[in-house]
């Protein structure tokens, strides 16, 4: 059982045009967080400041869009972040080519099983659900 939110935003331009908005710290600082450090490779470090809050994490996936992508394909950036005393969540930012621009699909999920891995007790965490997290991702 995974808590997840999903949002979509239509943007003008192609996925390649918009990739810097997801990966260039200058752009990220203007919408994602006040300060962003991202090491753009799987396993790279990720650090964000949002007001007084610092979130730390790591990069899971960096898949830049392929030029001239067909509708439905695009690029994806996934990272994990976690504020102190909070549980980690996984953010997936996906750029999907659409006929009249690009759709940015955001998913943030808090896979409860991961909390077990890092030793944070989670009441009501039924076992046997989907499994995510570093162990799987490393494959």
């Amino acid at each position: 059982m995974t808590d997840q939110i999903e949002r979509e935003l239509s943007l003008p331009g192609t996925p390649e045009d918009l990739w810097p908005a997801l990966t260039d710290p200058d752009w990220l600082c203007s919408w994602l967080a006040d300060e962003v450090w991202l090491e753009l490779r799987p396993g790279g470090e990720a650090r964000f400041r949002i007001g007084d809050e610092v979130r730390e994490g790591w990069v899971e996936e960096v898949s830049p869009p392929v030029p001239g992508a067909e509708p439905g394909s695009g690029g994806r950036l996934c990272f994990w972040w976690q504020a102190q005393d909070d549980c980690a969540s996984r953010v997936s930012l996906e750029l999907i080519a659409a006929p009249d621009g690009t759709i940015l699909r955001v998913r943030e999920a808090r896979p409860l099983e991961v909390l077990d891995l890092v030793g944070i007790p989670m009441p009501g965490n039924a076992s046997g659900g989907e499994r995510y997290g570093p162990a799987l991702v490393a494959a």
């Binding site: 808590d3 999903e6 943007l11 331009g13 918009l18 908005a21 919408w31 940015l104 039924a126």
Partner: protein, 113 residues
């Protein structure tokens, strides 16, 4: 499976933006369908339909007050998950609004600050 079904119903109920908005309004103050229809840009019938979905997911309780039924938010065991979703969802709404405002310059790849 029985443990997962209620949670599935909750997330399905919350997948709809209008239902999230209704839940937010009701969490501010318990309301009747008529009051909600006045506040929100949808008909009373549409409100009633959403309230049924939210009630069935166990997110709302009904309480009779005179001729009306007043809805309030259930302090459910899932409320932690629900409040996480509301918080995180709200944060992304804000972030995407900022990104949308940058949309054109981002697409053109100019306009650095």
């Amino acid at each position: 499976m029985s443990e997962r079904d209620p949670a599935g119903a909750v997330f399905e109920a919350l997948a709809d933006p209008m239902r999230r908005r209704l839940l937010q309004t009701i969490s501010g103050s318990p309301s009747t369908a008529t009051e909600l229809a006045c506040e929100l840009p949808i008909s009373r019938q549409a409100v009633a339909k959403h309230l049924t979905a939210l009630s069935q997911a166990g997110l709302l309780d009904r309480e009779r007050s005179g001729r009306d039924v007043r809805y309030h938010v259930t302090p459910a065991p899932l409320s932690e998950a629900v409040s996480w979703m509301a918080d995180v969802g709200g944060q992304w709404d804000d972030r995407l609004a900022r990104l949308a405002a940058l949309g054109e310059p981002v697409a053109r790849g100019r306009a650095r600050h």
